[in-house]
């Protein structure tokens, strides 16, 4: 190999640069998002029904909430159907602003916590009005 030393040196330097972000962040892992579900409305619900529950189970809501919101939007805006009957038989008014955010009035510690971690920026809030929160 001609100029073998230089090539190998160059490769090492390249690898060092390319993998730098990984070395740099070792041990500095971002904190996992911690969702807070301790809003007044949820506490009231717990007192009334004895347990925390969303429209569907946590296991469904976590991966499917965006699909559900999409379906809700189409149902309400395009079909005019506003009542959602959950798999547990409870009825909910399909409204992000008035139903979801009524309980989850802590957008910053609930929505944004995960969305920021995952670097997704849903554009719900350019139109829908987010609940008023105390900035801590």
């Amino acid at each position: 190999m001609y100029n073998g030393g230089k090539i190998i040196l160059g490769l090492i330097v390249f690898l060092a640069f390319a993998t730098f972000p990984f070395y740099y962040n070792i041990g500095k892992v971002n904190a996992k998002p911690e969702l807070k579900t301790d809003t007044p409305a949820i506490q009231e619900w717990v007192q009334k029904y004895g347990k925390k529950e969303c429209i569907e189970s946590k296991e469904v809501m976590r991966p499917e909430h965006m699909q559900i919101l999409n379906n809700w939007r189409d149902s309400v805006v395009r079909n005019g159907d506003r009542i959602y009957v959950s798999s547990s038989g409870k009825s909910f008014s399909m409204s992000l602003q008035n139903t979801c955010m009524n309980c989850h009035s802590n957008k910053k510690k609930f929505c944004d916590e995960c969305h920021n971690y995952m670097a997704v920026t849903p554009y719900c809030w350019t139109c829908h009005i987010a609940p008023k929160e105390n900035t801590l």
Partner: protein
């Protein structure tokens, strides 16, 4: 291994028949697990086949009466108030769901009458989306953001609107407004366009078209439209397809006209013409 065209087409045909091609695969993969859940309309909702208004402006005595209706609508729907902008900009950029204008501007194609009642000529009429039976805006919308609902309302789906403004060009009534500015923004004097947000209704964002939606969100919970509620009888709301509805009774009794009927859009807003003591 290679296959020739004949073998390939056979394979495609067989797999399509067997239901393992195309969308069937994707639908199988994307199982949301929510089949059991269902949606339904609110039992309180008002149901009609073709909602419409009959407007009798003789019942509106002062500017205050007009303002009451306009404010009722614009405040609950978070319609930005552009009145703080310089006049020449406001005229182009203001957003309106319900507004007023004189006879000539309301009925520009009405036959000219030489010695017409001056009161009628100077009277202001309420204008809103006509919720046409044959809406031109719906035909031109490339994303189906604006569409006709089962109950006759010409609805605007803000999620889908791309702001192309074809609908504004198509609408012969000027009933649509484009958000040239962020409705949550402020004018040059630092005044917010939306004075007080209604927390139960969304705002819009810059770059979408908006208009009167006949208070679909109020009908869904059994309330009549906001402007009708505060109009003191000047705006009557009802189902035009129901012969026993209040609007049909007025239409049967009084002489009414619609805006630009010759265009064939079949507006659902009727105006009672004739004033003074003859108007009931």
């Amino acid at each position: 291994m290679s296959i020739n065209r004949r073998q390939f087409l056979k394979l495609v045909g067989v797999s399509t028949v067997a239901g393992i091609g195309g969308t069937a695969v994707f639908n199988g993969l994307r199982n949301s697990g929510l089949e059991a859940a269902q949606t339904s309309p609110d039992p309180r909702s008002l149901n009609g086949k073709r909602w419409g208004f009959v407007v009798d402006v003789s019942k509106l005595k002062s500017d205050e009466d007009y303002k009451k209706c306009i404010d009722a609508c614009h405040s609950i729907h978070n319609v930005p108030d552009m009145s703080g902008l310089p006049e020449e900009i406001r005229i182009r950029q203001e957003v309106k769901w319900i507004w007023k204008d004189n006879f000539e501007r309301t009925f520009p194609t009405a036959p000219e009458a030489e010695y017409q009642n001056s009161e009628l000529k100077e009277k202001n009429f309420f204008l809103f989306c006509n919720h046409c039976a044959q809406p031109a805006c719906v035909r031109v919308c490339p994303t189906k953001a604006t569409f006709k609902r089962k109950d006759g309302i010409v609805m605007q789906d803000m999620h889908r609107c791309i702001g192309c403004r074809f609908c504004m060009a198509a609408c012969p009534y000027g009933a649509r407004s484009f958000n040239w500015r962020d409705p949550r923004g402020k004018d040059d004097n630092g005044q917010p366009f939306i004075k007080e947000e209604n927390k139960e209704f969304p705002t819009r964002m810059i770059g979408v078209v908006e208009k009167c939606t006949l208070c679909y969100e109020r009908l869904a919970i059994g309330k009549i439209p906001a402007c009708v509620e505060v109009s003191g009888g000047a705006i009557v709301f009802g189902d035009l397809e129901d012969p026993n509805s209040e609007v049909r009774k007025i239409l049967a009794e009084k002489y009414t006209i619609r805006r630009k009927p010759e265009l064939g859009t079949q507006p659902s807003i009727y105006y009672v013409i004739g004033g003074g003591e003859h108007a009931g």
